[in-house]
Structures are given as structure tokens and as C-alpha cells.
């Protein structure tokens, strides 16, 4: 964009949203040049803080007139660059739309604006007997709109599913500035647009309001911690549990590297020579839990668990979860920088992918420790490095590429819950055939024909020129300022 066009756009944004709700000074914009994925940065022309769907629609309309790209953003916790303003433009912050509008227990739903942090909804539901099931590790900060954009998961998806299974309705602003409402009551007289909108990373519409399904709290829990000598034993136990028809609420796996980090940081008393630790949680009516727990315990021992401990009290349960949830934070003690990867394989290929990760780490000389949502086959290898050292950065990038490639080779996917963003664009045409990507492009063309919503994300351009073309357009003077 030319300086005059930018100034004119900013003036109009200020006039409509109020000066307090528009940032345009370079010193203010620098905080929005990336999200949780910090390897690429680009400064937007402006950042706006709309307070209503109507204001979002006005911003979208205005950006249409100036032909400027829009980047919707919640808490900015994306680890894949989903909020990176790749081609500049206007970052639309949804964080001031943070009202929980309605909790309707009779209909088991809640309605909230897109900027409500996931954990805030959980807090609002405390004492109702219900909860919102998706609980990504970022839940303290990440917003419902962001959860919808990435189809967020968390440790409990094995039993309770991902965000897509819990969204009943959406209100969203389309690329032409019109407002779309879907649900919360299903209407079979039309296409299921909720399906593709969830997980679309802000490229099909800007979600402003969400109707979510509420899930009854389990009556009771049994939480176990099993210590194994090898990762293979642990994954075999997981497989045996699933094979026996037991669906735990969560099955989390930590390998030796991460156990050492947790131990160094928090002194839980874990044996440092353990190959893997599994945290397995069963939930449901109390009546069925003891028997299930006995069976899970037996499967762990059958696969040579050295020790199986169960949390006897709510406090002990919290402790067990604490060691899992603090695991990533503990990594900070091991190295100055780290990068959490997200890949998924069919659950039975888990031993294989974990072995390959060991080989990849050795090959690139990068230290990699692992946490995994073992029940889903979802691995989160954590690559440790020092970002001040460019050769280490290069090795980490190469190792990351190899391990995502390995996920594809195992019949999996390069992302289970973080999304493609810009980070994983290069893998889309490895995971999908050209016709598959073309089908996705057609959906995008139908929903955002002007291509102004979060351009350059999720789908690789067919040619590099196409992306440049978009950038060029964005720099043009608007026709009707």
C-alpha cells in the first residue's frame, strides 16, 4: 500500500471504531508482526480492536474498498504462524469481543463472543455440572475463536473429540462484509458450512460468535501413573487398553528426556532411568471405574510397567496432571529455546514414529524430547536449541521437516491440532494430491472470492507468483477511497 492510501485507510478505521481501537504507529505494530511462531515476521499496516460483529463487518467492508488483506487474531498463541500478517494489511483483534452472552443448561449450550478465552468459559461454567470439552494446553490464553479456527484439541480428545464436535453454531463475517449465522439448530435444507468453517484458520470467514455444546462433568475419575522401562512397552500397553474396548478420558505419554526435565524442575521423584511415563485417566459413573482401573493396571503390568500408581485423592490427581501440564514449561530449563512440533500418526504406528524421532534427533544432532497424546497418536516432539546460533536453528528446521515427513510416511498428518498456518504450507502438497488441494481451493474461492481473508495461509499457492500478485494488489491505490 502507498503511504497515502494507508493513511487514508487508518483515518477511516479511526472514524468508525474510535481512535483508541486502531493502532498504526510502527512502535505499536511491532507486537503484531508474529504470533507463537516467531521464525517469520511481517508488520501489518494497522491493528484494529472491534467490539461488535457490526464493527468487524465495517472493517471488512472498508478493507474491501481499499483491497487490503485481513488477518483475524485472538490471543496470538498459534504455533504455526496462523496470525502472521504475511502480506501486511489489517490485523483484526477479536480480544475485545469477550462477553459470554448466555449459558443455557436446558439446551446444553453456551453462546460467547470469539475473543473469550477458553478457560474463562470453563470458569463461568464451574458449579453448573457442565464444561466445554476442548482443553488445549494454551487454554489459559487462547480464545474460542482461535480454538474454532484451528479445530483445537487437547489431552481429552480421545474420548470427547475436538472443537468440531462441540460447535453448534457460528456467527461470522464473510470476505464481502456480510454476516453469516449458522445454527445452533441444524437445518438440513442446505450444506453443512459449520464443518469447513471449523479449522479454516480464518481463511473463509472471521468468526465473531460461537455456540458451543456443553458436556456433563464426569461423576468420578481414576487417574493412574505408570512407569515403563521402554517407550515400546508404554505404547504396547496403550494399544492393549484400546484393544480391550476401554476408552480412557486421556492417555498421555512422556519420554525419558521430558521426564528428566520435569524432575530437574519440580522434583516429583520420578526415576531418571525410566523410558517412559504414562498418565492415564478414566472417567464416568463411579460404578464402572474400579473394574476399568483394575484392567488398565493389569495391562500396564502385562507390558512390564515397573510401577503403577493411582491418585487416591483429588489433590493427588491434580499433582499427576500438574506434572504433565508443566512438562512443556520445564523444558525451558534444558535449553534457551525450544520448538514444539505437532504431528499425528495412526495410534498403532506410535512406537515406530517415536523410534524415528530418536533417529532424526541423532541424524541432525538436535536434542528432542517428547510428550504425546498417546490415545490419539498425536505426538508433540519438543526440539531444543539456542536461537542465537544460526547453525542450530538450521538443524532444528531440518529435523522438524524430517519428522513431519515421517508422520506422512506413517499414514498420518503434519498437524493434529495446531493447524497449517504458514509453518506447514510446504507439506500440504506432500500430504495431499493436487486434486485434493484443488478441491480445497474451490471451497476457498466460493467463500472468499477476493482472497482477502488471511491470504497465504493453509493452502500453498499454485505458484509463487500468485502470492506475489496478491501482495501487489494490496499495495495498489484503492479505487474508491
Amino acid at each position: 500500500m502507498t503511504t497515502t492510501a494507508t493513511a487514508s485507510l487508518v483515518r477511516e478505521l479511526r472514524r468508525r471504531l474510535g481512535a483508541d481501537n486502531v493502532l498504526s504507529a510502527p512502535s505499536e505494530l511491532v507486537a503484531y508482526d508474529c504470533d507463537g511462531y516467531t521464525l517469520e515476521r511481517n508488520r501489518p499496516e494497522a491493528v484494529v480492536f472491534p467490539r461488535s460483529t457490526r464493527e468487524v463487518a465495517e472493517v471488512v467492508g472498508l478493507c474491501g474498498r481499499y483491497d487490503v488483506p485481513l488477518v483475524p487474531r485472538g490471543a496470538g498463541t498459534s504455533l504455526a504462524g496462523g496470525c502472521l500478517p504475511l502480506h501486511g494489511g489489517v490485523v483484526v483483534m477479536l480480544t475485545r469481543m469477550k462477553r459470554i452472552l448466555h449459558v443455557d443448561l436446558r439446551n446444553r449450550l453456551a453462546v460467547a463472543e470469539a475473543g473469550v478465552p477458553n478457560v474463562q468459559l470453563s470458569r463461568a461454567l464451574a458449579g453448573t455440572g457442565y464444561h466445554f470439552a476442548p482443553d488445549p494446553s494454551s487454554q489459559v490464553a487462547s480464545t474460542l475463536g482461535g480454538n474454532v479456527a484451528t479445530n483445537a484439541g487437547g489431552p481429552h480428545t480421545l474420548k470427547y473429540g475436538v472443537t468440531a464436535n462441540h460447535v453448534l453454531g457460528l456467527e461470522a463475517v464473510l470476505g464481502d462484509g456480510s454476516v453469516l449465522q449458522l445454527g445452533p439448530v441444524p437445518d438440513p435444507a442446505g450444506l453443512d458450512l459449520l464443518g469447513p468453517l471449523v479449522g479454516s484458520e480464518g481463511t473463509l470467514a472471521i468468526v465473531t460468535r460461537v455456540w458451543v455444546r456443553l458436556t456433563p462433568n464426569p461423576q468420578d475419575y481414576r487417574t493412574l501413573r505408570a512407569i515403563f522401562d521402554t517407550v515400546d512397552d508404554a505404547t504396547n500397553a496403550v494399544s492393549a487398553i484400546i484393544g480391550a474396548g476401554i476408552v480412557p478420558a486421556a492417555m498421555e505419554l512422556m519420554d525419558q528426556g521430558i521426564v528428566a526435565a520435569v524432575e530437574a524442575a519440580y522434583h516429583f521423584g520420578f526415576p531418571l532411568d525410566a523410558g517412559a511415563i504414562a498418565v492415564i485417566e478414566l472417567d464416568g459413573p463411579t460404578a464402572g471405574l474400579d473394574e476399568q482401573q483394575r484392567r488398565v493396571d493389569a495391562f500396564c503390568r502385562q507390558w512390564h510397567a515397573r510401577e503403577v500408581l493411582q491418585a487416591a485423592t483429588a489433590r493427588e490427581r491434580e499433582e499427576l496432571w500438574k506434572c504433565r501440564k508443566m512438562a512443556v514449561g520445564a523444558v525451558g530449563r534444558l535449553s534457551p529455546s525450544y520448538c514444539i512440533q505437532d504431528g499425528v500418526v495412526p495410534r498403532t504406528r506410535l512406537p515406530e514414529i517415536l523410534r524415528q524421532i530418536v533417529e532424526i534427533a541423532a541424524r541432525h544432532g538436535v536434542r528432542i524430547v517428547n510428550v504425546a497424546h498417546a490415545g490419539d497418536g498425536n505426538v508433540h516432539p519438543i526440539l531444543l536449541f539456542d536461537e542465537r546460533d544460526p547453525t542450530q536453528v538450521a538443524r532444528v528446521l531440518a529435523a522438524g521437516r524430517d519428522l513431519l515427513e515421517a508422520c506422512i510416511q506413517c499414514g498420518g498428518s503434519v498437524t493434529a491440532e495446531h493447524g497449517i498456518g504458514v509453518e506447514k504450507l510446504e507439506f500440504m502438497d506432500r500430504q495431499f494430491a493436487p486434486a485434493d488441494l484443488e478441491a480445497m481451493r474451490r471451497l476457498r474461492r466460493a467463500m472468499d472470492p477476493a482472497g482477502r481473508l488471511n491470504p497465504g495461509k493453509l493452502l500453498p499457492s499454485r505458484s509463487p507468483e500468485a502470492a506475489c500478485g496478491l501482495a501487489e494488489t494490496a499495495r495498489n491505490q484503492p479505487q474508491t477511497p
Binding site: G377, D436, L443
Partner: protein, 423 residues
């Protein structure tokens, strides 16, 4: 045996390709001629949707019925679209697993058909619907180009969810040829608890109470009308009662036993009458009756018009009352926990348009609800506006998606909400 589809679709011929290439070839040829192509699975839901008028080619997926891959411990299965639900259930049962989606006439209904029509049944309350289980598919778009969506892993955030986009699209965007589903372990035990409801206020009180039950129902059903009046499975339904409540419970033997006792207590406290408990074979029979309700053969000669209505759960009772007021001799099954109501009308098809357009839809629109015709008897000829209702605000967007996936409007022309191409 009559040719599947012959009754409902204006078929010029029926193709029965044996593989993906054959399907792609058939679609491509229809596309070149810009003439309609009607995909057919088991032929059990061909009366869902408007009656197409333009002659076209029938495309049976019946020969694409193979198992592609079943890694049981991944809790996923990949099958071709023409596999019947009964065949799928048999394969899963051998590994102690199931797809907890209730489908009428499972011996004929196919996986592709179930996905395309997406009509949830009783277990949607506890288990979700088919859209919660589809994780990958292969399909052929309206130009004859094969593509895939999703994958074979239970959690996947790569790219757009084309699986759910195709779910319930009545085969109008693409012909589904292969599906990967997430599956679940079969519960050890299943039971149903039935109790009579004296009046509608009582019905709403019990349903509202179930929201706070400490049990975990798999299904919450409300039954009313002649189809249920003399059903021995439901126990004695006193003539003074307006309806029956049926709650499904599934889990381990210990869980189900505890839930039955607990639910009886809870219903008793809410003023519920003594309930009948069905277990084992009896429970299976009633699950079957609940599942088959929309397509069960009619006792008389004429097939009924069946409506599919969606409202918020707390509007279920009111809507059931309204339906029975508009058609006092009709029968109703409500998946009350989800606000989905199926009504088998006693009215002749020519009176259905007036009922829907003049009475029901105006009342529902105030409650944010929707109503469509789920099936109509052969020859009833209900058109798209009667079947699907007026076009909603998102229609233009949906039409542009249709145009992208099936530019010449070859697939199921005239059955769904899309305009036929101007010629």
C-alpha cells in the same frame, strides 16, 4: 427385484461401476452432456428430497462394497461407499467395536448413502452423529475428477474439512466412493427405560430434569401417536397419557445397573410414573423400533409423508404438541435430547404443502427451527419449496460452493436446494 431407484428417479439407465475409475468415467460423461446423474447407494432414502424431473443416468455404488483397511486398534475403518451398514456392523462386531450411528434398513443402507443423507437417530444424544465419525473420504466431483479429503487419523488439522462439507449434501457436490470412519468399542450392556407421560407439562418437566441427571443417557426419546399406542415394548401406556418417554443407557454391566437404579430414582422424584425396563433382546427390539420409525412400513396401503423437524431441545415438547394439533392422527418420535422430531403424518400428500408452508414453518421460524420432508410416497411429487422450505440467507454462498464442485449441475439435479442450471 426392481431396479433400485426406478420408483423415485427418472432414470434412463443404471450404471454399476466396479471401481473409482468407473465412477469418474460415468460422471465425466454426464458432465460432458450436461445431463443429470443420480448416485444410488442402497436406495433406502431415495424419497428424501424433491422429486427430480429431468431424466438422467443412475449410478449405483453397490459394487463398490469392499473393506479397504481395518486397523482395529486404531479405532478406524476404511470402506468403499457401497458397503452396507449391516456388513460394516458385522466386521466391527468381530473386533468388539461399532459405529454408534442408528440407520434404518441396515441390510440395504450403504455407508456412502448414510453420509450423504445424514439423518441422525436415537443415539445422537450420547454418541453424536455421522459427521462426528467421518475422518476421511474419496469422492468424484461433478466434473468427474476424483479427490480425497481428511485422512486416516482421528485428529487432523491439515486443510479444510471436506468430509463434513459433503456430509448431508445429498450427493450434490460429489459422489462419495470411499469413507474412513472413527469407530468405538461396543458397550458391554445396553438397556432402555420407558415411562408414560400424563400431560405435556409433565413431559417437559421430566426432560428438563434429565439435563441434570447423574446418569449418562445414550438416547432421550419422546414417542406419541397411534404408531406407539399399542406397542407392547413400551409397557402399559394408559389411554389418558399423551406420550411416552424412553431413555437409553449403555456402558459396562456395573454402570448400566447403577444408571437404571439412579434414573428410576430421579424420574420418581420428578413425578414420573413407574417405568418399564428393557434389557438384552427386548432392548435390541426397542432400539430397532426407534431406529426404523421413519421408514417402517405403513399399516395401510399408503406410505406416509414423514417430516424431519429441528428445534432447540427445550422447544421439543411444544413442537410435538403443535404437530399433533395440526395432524391429530399422526405419530411422532422425538430425539428429545437434541430437539429433532420425526413425524409420520396421516395427512394426504396434497395437504402437506399447506401444513408446512402455512402453519408449521411460520411457527418454527420464530423459534429458530427448521422443517423438511424426510420422505414422501411414490407419486406424491412434492417440489423443492415444499420439501426444503424457502431459501435461507446463506443460500447464495451454498450455491457458489455447488457451482465450484459441480459446475454443470450434474449431480442429483432437482433433488436438493440448488437451482437447476438455466438452459
Amino acid at each position: 427385484m426392481t431396479q433400485p431407484g426406478a420408483d423415485h428417479l427418472p432414470l434412463t439407465e443404471l450404471l454399476t461401476p466396479a471401481d473409482l475409475a468407473g465412477v469418474a468415467d460415468a460422471v465425466r460423461r454426464s458432465c460432458e452432456r450436461a445431463t443429470p446423474l443420480y448416485p444410488i447407494g442402497g436406495g433406502t432414502r431415495l424419497s428424501y428430497g424433491a422429486v427430480p424431473v429431468e431424466p438422467g443416468v443412475g449410478l449405483s455404488l453397490g459394487r463398490l462394497d469392499r473393506l479397504v483397511d481395518y486397523p482395529a486398534r486404531d479405532l478406524t475403518i476404511t470402506v468403499q461407499a457401497g458397503m452396507t451398514l449391516a456388513e460394516l456392523a458385522g466386521r466391527l462386531a468381530a473386533e468388539g467395536q461399532r459405529l454408534p450411528v442408528d440407520v434404518p434398513r441396515p441390510d440395504r443402507a450403504t455407508v456412502g448413502g448414510v453420509l450423504s443423507t445424514s439423518v441422525p437417530g436415537p443415539r445422537q444424544y450420547g454418541c453424536g452423529t455421522i459427521r462426528d465419525y467421518v475422518i476421511g473420504l474419496r469422492a468424484v466431483d461433478g466434473s468427474g475428477t476424483p479427490f480425497a479429503g481428511g485422512g486416516r487419523v482421528v485428529k487432523n488439522a491439515a486443510g479444510y474439512d471436506l468430509c463434513r462439507l459433503l456430509t448431508g449434501s445429498l450427493g450434490t457436490l460429489a459422489v462419495i466412493v470411499e469413507v474412513t470412519l472413527m469407530v468405538k468399542p461396543r458397550p458391554e450392556c445396553s438397556a432402555l427405560l420407558a415411562c408414560p407421560l400424563c400431560d405435556w407439562e409433565h413431559a417437559e418437566r421430566l426432560l428438563a430434569g434429565l439435563v441434570h441427571s447423574s446418569t449418562l443417557p445414550a438416547a432421550i426419546e419422546l414417542v406419541a401417536g397411534p404408531a406407539w399406542q399399542d406397542d407392547p415394548l413400551l409397557g402399559p401406556l394408559p389411554p389418558s397419557c399423551v406420550a411416552g418417554l424412553v431413555v437409553g443407557l449403555e456402558g459396562t454391566a456395573a454402570e448400566v445397573e447403577w444408571m437404571i437404579g439412579r434414573l428410576q430414582e430421579e424420574l420418581g422424584q420428578a413425578g414420573g410414573k413407574a417405568s418399564t425396563i428393557l434389557q438384552d433382546a427386548q432392548a435390541d427390539l426397542l432400539w430397532g423400533r426407534l431406529t426404523e420409525f421413519p421408514s417402517a412400513p405403513a399399516p395401510g396401503a399408503l406410505e406416509p409423508v414423514v417430516l424431519r423437524v429441528h428445534v432447540l431441545p427445550d422447544q421439543t415438547v411444544q413442537t410435538v404438541e403443535d404437530l399433533l394439533r395440526l395432524d391429530p392422527a399422526g405419530s411422532v418420535l422425538a430425539h428429545a435430547g437434541n430437539g429433532m422430531i420425526l413425524a409420520r403424518l396421516s395427512l394426504a400428500p396434497d395437504r402437506v404443502a399447506e401444513l408446512l408452508e402455512g402453519r408449521l414453518r411460520p411457527e418454527l421460524s420464530g423459534r429458530g427451527g427448521s422443517a423438511v420432508v424426510l420422505s414422501q410416497p411414490t407419486g406424491a411429487g412434492l417440489g423443492p419449496v415444499t420439501v426444503w422450505g424457502p431459501r435461507g440467507p446463506a443460500h447464495a454462498l451454498m450455491q457458489s460452493i455447488k457451482d465450484q464442485f459441480d459446475p454443470r449441475h450434474v449431480l442429483n439435479r432437482g433433488r436438493f436446494v440448488f437451482a437447476s442450471p438455466t438452459r
